[in-house]
Amino acid sequence: MSVLTQSNTEPPLVELKGVSLAYGRGDGATLALADATLSIQKGEFIAVVGPSGCGKSTLMKLVTGLLPPTSGEVRVHGERVTRPIKGVGMAFQNPTLMPWRTTMDNILLPLEVVEPHKQRFRANKAEYVAKVEKLLATVGLKGFGEKFPWQLSGGMQQRSNLCRALIHDPEIMMLDEPFGALDAFTREDLWSVMQNLWLERRFTAVLVTHDLREAAYLADTIYVMSKRPGKVILKKTVDIPRPRTLATTFEPHFVDIVHELRDRIHQEYA
């Protein structure tokens, strides 16, 4: 069931307070994000939707500390974020798998870099390989480990990409339109893969997307952002029980939620 049933008195895992970010300096600076305030509970799956160029991806980079905010503050575990935080998994629209590594070696990459795995990687490689094989099987890629990424289809590459983002059991998972470049059938298939992974592991997830059905399918809470400079203009809780299925997406309540989001975003274009 949704983690919203958990007590909300716990301090949030991620907190943004009045965060804004400007690209460039001086007069040429563009304000990408203005006064964003939101908090994410541990184990919560949130989605950020909004018109294109509203600073959705910027928000994600702020949370992970890849970009420092121009003003305001970002806190993770109550601590102020000043540099890239540890224990994050990231998946982008572009799978960014390394063509010189096999799928297996690509997914092993985080373990070569992240502590404590880095220390024990050489000695315990067999154990890690088994772990990757298990994960590959979960996303329906059993036996594809020895293939190179460029020998896989787009959907398979994106599955591998999810595996790479998850292999080191990150606490926070950042998904920047990971299914954006896929065809509709593959995308819907991967929603269910993603949901299963989340139900199994209960990481905290931030999904940036422009697909409202995707947001409603996967998220507990959806934040709608305004046009640039992006502000959070609507917070919508998705109170639909899990696991959600494709059939769920045709139920009236689901459709209502999607309509409400769409109406709010259309106002931005008016």
Partner: protein, 258 residues
């Protein structure tokens, strides 16, 4: 034409074109009765190549040696400098203009200086081959590093990777196809470098052989030397291309898959 015939014809094409070129050359020499001292006939050049094979081979090996040493130095130096330039924007902005200025200097001009410093022998030729061939390696390696996808970098940074880890796990493997592509250009430049040095002033190598044959008005031997350089250049190029395919299979993915 069947596919097999097409395949063999494709392999035979370079040889057919070469044969045609030599045939036209030979006929032109005979028809216009060109003096041997001006332009020897190819058949004469080949005869000389066979007759003086031992001498040619000895001088060729000297040139091959200096070229290879200079080329290897260029790989090492070019790789290090390329990595430094590609990895650091400061080194890039500081060093790149200097490199371009240096590359614009005609290398013939520095050979006499090298002679004064190092005397005649193999060393000036090695240095000339080195300075002329490292530039494309530096530029290519730096380009390979500088064009890493920002998202790849973000993935690495969010994992907490150090700059060194990003360099070794992403930067260097990614720069490899660029490096090997540049080697094919660099090896031919290295030959030009060592032969220039031997020609300007030296007592060894195929360039020296050509120079002294020229001084004796022995045009066929001079041309035989030219042919020998061309053959060595093609062979070394082929070796570089082979290594390139072996080392960076993933960059030739189209050919591997289908």
């Amino acid at each position: 034409m069947t596919d097999t015939q097409r395949y063999y014809l494709k392999i035979a094409m370079p040889w057919l074109f070469m044969a045609a070129l030599f045939l036209i050359w030979e006929l032109a020499c005979v028809m216009f009765s060109i003096q041997e001292i001006i332009l020897p006939r190819p058949s004469k050049i080949f005869t000389v190549m066979v007759e003086r094979f031992d001498i040619l081979l000895r001088f060729c090996l000297e040139t091959l040696w200096t070229t290879t040493v200079g080329f290897l130095l260029a790989i090492g130096f070019g790789l290090v400098l390329g990595l430094a330039i590609g990895a650091s924007p400061f080194i890039y902005s500081g060093l790149y203009p200097l490199l371009i200025a240096f590359n614009a200097i005609p290398k013939v001009a520095i050979v006499p200086i090298l002679m004064i410093w190092l005397g005649v022998g193999a060393t000036p030729a090695i240095i000339t081959a080195f300075v002329i061939s490292f530039f494309p390696i530096v530029v290519n390696v730096a380009t390979g590093l500088a064009t890493i996808e920002p998202e790849m970098r973000d993935v690495m940074r969010s994992l907490g990777a150090t700059q060194y880890e990003i360099l070794t796990k992403v930067g260097i493997p990614r720069a490899m196809p660029y490096l090997f592509a540049s080697l094919k250009v660099a090896i031919t430049l290295a030959f030009i470098g060592s032969v220039i040095s031997e020609t300007v002033g030296g007592n060894r190598g195929i360039g020296f052989l050509m120079l002294s044959a020229g001084a004796r008005n022995d045009a066929p031997t001079t041309f035989a030397g030219l042919f020998a350089i061309a053959i060595m250049g093609v062979l070394m190029y082929a070796i570089c291309a082979l290594i390139e395919q072996r080392m960076t299979k993933w960059a030739f993915r189209g050919e591997v898959v289908g």
